[in-house]
Symmetry: C2
Subunit: 417 residues, 2 copies
């Protein structure tokens, strides 16, 4: 099945917002084996919208439209689809009730305009909207399918996930299931090298890799009659790849590295404190993104000055004098210092040169030391990072979360032995 | 002039990346008075690319293409444009030299494939690429203009800004100039109310507003023969709006609030320390995004535990016992405590309930105290924020930066009097 995603809204053409809906819908369609051939965006203009829809129907079997379902005169999606597919718009009582209820809950007055939102093409499948007033719908005619969804992502996404994707899957008679293996510590091309033979030999389970700064995701996808059958088919491929990735694999559930590391700390009740210099609070900030972290996170010290390193972390003046703030010795004293003051199981430190200024020949921009102290000692690593200030800070932060993850998993393994 | 932005790349249709280029190019074209009528995306497929280009040329005067200029067989943009416009591809010696130089600088081997990148349609205007190997170009035929740019944003953006936009401006004989007024502390609809009469009366200077979480931007745009003339026209409108926005206006240069506040601290040499609880390092992290902040930022304490509040910030056990960690009294002691230890001009603190758990009837999720201490006392504010954990943390962070900005400006004003 060939698909086109047709977004409607002048705000997209003005550059006021990015068309993130197209990416989201593309991922979902691809994951159930539907090929997306085109994205297009058109403004709130009746003539151009009609022309774009005709064009899409001419070259694709499935057109997913997002936007233009609002209550105003500018919102023309349903009217245009009804016109092109020669369907009447009829009042859908249930949707009208839902819209009324929505306004009641929000304690706002419903306007006559909103009644327009309950008019839908005759014979369509209605898609409930639990996060807004505009219902969506699926219309079929002559082997073509048109899906209409509202533009705001928080309304569109659940409607796509809960109704449209299952509908399309049912039409095909197949269920498409994907597993995501998330990897840190090896690059995309290195990863591809390791699994090249599997990629070349892929048959029923397709293997795709995606990279973003410092992280790679491997997606395994297959199509079966049932979910269980799909998982059964994916399992051996997943296990083979997992074996090759070793401990670079940090999640088989498509989770962020920060989340995985933080959850491990919480689950195992391992308390932690942080001493950050060049990351300037970024590690603490991402750690505290995770609800429930207060059970194990005691404190973070952003020691931007030497005084802070001495006063809050007990780094000795001699160390700072002799080796400098960016040194292995300082990193170790920072980690041990914060661990001791905070009385936590782990103390973690970062000191480095994020740039753009402050680099020297001996200590260039991108030189970073990270250290992890526990009751039995301190593990300190030297990183040589490239890129700008943002990238150096972000890569350091990811590295620390990976260090935490490896530490907890290692500690758990030792405890079990 | 009607424009279409045609992005080329299967990775967009697979949902691997978002089409941020379309938004960026749209903003730039709109800012020089060119109307964008369509966005489209097509994969690395010769037939479909040709069809999409013909379609675009049929309905628009200007087509800006991004992507498909790489060295591989998949990259078909130039070949397709040359075919459609009936132009030959000829070797551009200067571009070949630049590509060779690029590989020398990166200390990488140049492949034969890269020579293909130096072939460009005859008679085109070449656009230099200082951040990659693919040159771009502008081709004109029969009153139609086709612009080809590489896909990676860090290559595309400077090429668009430095060559394409001036080229298009020169063609029109006009210069379009925009000024951006950035506002914190009032919502978009409230702002629109305040300037409604100006919006209704807009003639030569157009006024548009954009909102993002907690912040609003007002764009003023006009078209003139010269830059100076445009600024002269914008000035009275800018001054009128600035007067109505008062101290809610934090930048007339389209800068981020965090950047404005941090720069003010650096410029005036006002030293600062932070004590963060619910923001968990987010304020420190954004402050240290700004290069040069180490001159004034001494330290941050992420006091997630009561022990940290007592040990690092000298909050008294009685205060914590009597009023709780989330209270006006604790916020004040945190701000004064960190200021005293760090010996800085300012001490700033945050304590609150970011959720999703931890709220009570007396202290609901979203209750946050922020305090700013200086040598003469402490200013503490109670915030009642709505939304999820992310929004509460982000809004608190913005609020603190706004507080810093207002403080520095107030202090500067007092010193001057």
């Amino acid at each position: 099945m060939k698909a086109e995603i047709l977004a409607v809204g002048t705000e997209l053409l003005m550059g006021q917002i990015t068309n993130t809906n197209a990416q989201y819908i593309s991922q979902k369609l691809n994951s159930i084996g539907i090929d997306v051939y085109y994205h297009s965006v058109v403004g709130d203009n009746s003539g151009r919208l009609k022309e774009s829809l005709l064009n899409a129907l001419n070259r694709c079997d499935l057109v997913i439209m997002a936007g233009g379902l609002g209550p105003t005169q500018d919102d023309l999606t349903k009217e245009t689809v009804a016109d092109v597919l020669e369907k009447k718009l009829v009042l859908h009582e249930e949707s009208l009730e839902r819209i009324k209820l929505f306004f009641d809950r929000m304690k706002r007055e419903m306007t006559d305009n909103n009644i327009k939102q309950a008019y839908l093409p005759e014979g369509c499948t209605v898609i409930e909207n639990n996060n807004g007033t505009a219902p969506g719908c699926i219309v079929e005619k002559d082997a073509k399918i048109v899906v209409m969804l509202p533009g705001p992502p928080k309304e569109m996404k659940p409607m796509l996930d809960d109704t449209v994707i299952p509908y399309l899957e049912q039409k095909s008679g197949y269920k498409t299931v994907s597993k995501y293996l998330r990897v840190f510590g090896i690059g995309e091309s290195q990863l591809e090298d390791r699994i090249m033979d599997l990629v070349d030999a892929q048959k029923e389970v397709t293997i795709a890799t995606y990279a973003k700064e410092g992280q790679v995701t491997v997606r395994l996808t297959t199509k079966c009659k049932t979910y269980e059958e799909a998982i059964f088919k994916i399992k051996p491929v997943e296990e083979e790849i997992a074996g090759r990735l070793g401990d670079n694999l940090y999640s088989t559930e498509d989770e962020e590295l920060e989340y995985v590391a933080s959850k491990l700390l919480i689950e195992h009740g391992i308390t932690i404190s942080l001493a950050e210099s060049c990351t300037g609070g970024m590690i603490a900030s991402r750690l505290t993104d995770v609800p429930g972290i207060s059970k194990v996170f005691n404190r973070g010290i952003v020691s931007y000055s030497n005084e802070a390193k001495m006063e809050n972390l007990s780094v000795s003046p001699e160390t700072l004098e002799k080796y400098g703030a960016v040194s292995r010795q300082t990193a170790i004293e920072m980690a041990e210092g914060v661990r001791k003051t905070a009385k936590t199981d782990l103390g973690i430190s970062v000191t480095g040169i994020a740039g753009p200024d402050g680099g020297t020949d001996q200590k260039p921009v991108g030189l970073v030391y990270v250290a992890l102290a526990d009751k039995s000692g301190c593990d300190c690593r030297e990183l040589r990072l490239t890129g700008n200030r943002d990238r150096i800070r972000n890569m350091t932060t990811l590295y620390v979360f990976d260090m935490i993850r490896r530490y907890v998993l290692g500690a758990v393994r030792i405890n079990k032995e």
